[in-house]
Amino acid sequence: MLDPAFLLAGVLNGLLAGGIYVLVAVGLTLIYGVLHIINFAHGSLLMLAMYAVFWLWRLAGIDPYAALPLVIAGSFAFGFVLYRLLIGRYNHGRDENILLITLGLSIVFDNAALLFFGGNTQTIDVPYAGTFVELGAAFLPLPKIISFVAALILCAALALYMALSDTGKAIRAVAKERQGARLVGIDVETVFAVSYGIGIACLGAAACLLMPTYYVTPSSGHAFVLVAFTIVVLGGMGSFVGAAVGGLVIGITESLGGLFLGEQLGQIGISLIFILILLLKPTGLFGSKA
């Protein structure tokens, strides 16, 4: 059971899955860090993006990786508009209200997908899906490695953008001090909408990277939402580094949990981590405040 090669394969597989989780979680943590809202529709929006990638492939024959720019741009626009039309209007007052609104949105998205796309599991057959790479004792599917590397590059690009560009600077200013940002002439409402758009654009990227090896159903959002929240809470709400470390840790936890506890019981690790972090250290590993 405790064959080191077996263990290594588990860790590597978890790490590869974790890379994509990082992308999902970075979007969530950005939205929280800037807007101070908990985006419960995050999983459902990822599911919609995955369907977009699927239909682009099915109807136009676009490879999921080639679809990256298109889906990222589309997701950004969708997030921006969603914020402007709906979420932004009620983003003030009790924080449960926005949680309930995003819950309502996720119910609408999940069931619209079920209504229009049906409940079947959809997958994309890419020609390189069966290619494996031998790494030590582990055989790893090539698309997972490509996706992992691409996810890290995209995260790094986003971090650079946030650090260097004017928009990034404005976003960070708003996250730190809303009133002050307004006083120095930053259009705070636009920054909010842009941040929400970037958060959803991260989901678009994650969807492109997931689809070569993963599947999508209308309930895919459910599978991801608690995972994404766990990563963000583990890393610390609003923390980029936290989301990156948390994503990799949760990827490995999930993989090893499945390995040692079985497919069913293995999922319990994530929920337990979530509960324990909230109970014992709600600021997470890298969070700054409660």
Partner: protein, 320 residues
Amino acid sequence: MTRAALLCAAGLAAAIVYPLLVPNYLVNIGMLVFFTAFIGQSWNIAGGFAGQTSFGHVVFFGTGAYTSTILQVTYGWNPWLAWPVATAMGGVVGWMIAVLSFRAGLRGSYFALITLAFAEVFRILANSVPFTKGGLGMLIKADQRPINFQFKDPIWIYYLALLLCLVSVAIAWHLTRSRFGARLVAIRENEDAARALGIDVFAEKVKVLPLSGAMCAAGGTFYAQKYLYIDPSIAFGVDKSVEMLLVSMVGGAGTIFGPLIGSFTLMGINEATRWLASVVPALKNVQPLSLIVYGIMLVLIVARLPNGLMGLFRRGPARA
């Protein structure tokens, strides 16, 4: 006030006579309205009156359903005897979650998310441990005698659901008139201000979640006895949590009749979409359609009608 009392009496009389006049399938729908109003009220007591929004209330529902079913199927208990035990178990789980979460100071969205995670842990455990029979679920042997909490004539289960609903409305009514209820509302409106007024916020919150959990668990047993089958995704799935939250929010969170109004409304939407689907054959898949309507209603109500549909009837100061 007397007009309101008269209206309630008339409503109750109508509810009692109704099953005598309509075919069985409509009796069944009535039963579902009152049952959903009952579990919705259990959510409303914690989520509406005390403002502790829960996304995982199904954890109590499933605890109740599994406790009575295990006692009955595995240990041969009579379900009527197992019912109070299941109800108490719901209270115990509520107390545990309350002590853990509120001691850690979780509020608002964080509390909502941790209840979701607790429900998920219970679902995975029910799927994995041997005494729940895992994902296969548990079947209660059909033996339709009242002594077995099973009824041949649907009218009896209808009256039982009506009774549960009345009890839950009475509890909610009592909350609006008692000091305990007033303290809960104070906590909902502003926790820090409530504390400054000398309310022991932690103690009150630790009282309300067991109450709500026990009610919800009683509903779990009722559900198991009605359908004679439970499995982890029915008993601990997110759908039931959302349903409880929806009926309260739509009808009016923190109001006495909110869950009942919400339950009526949702059942109405259900039947309307079913009818629509029978007229427009392209919409053969009904379930998602009605859920889409619910989702839109939730968004609209949170955004525009904080008192839910009850807010349309009663003119008063809107709650923040």
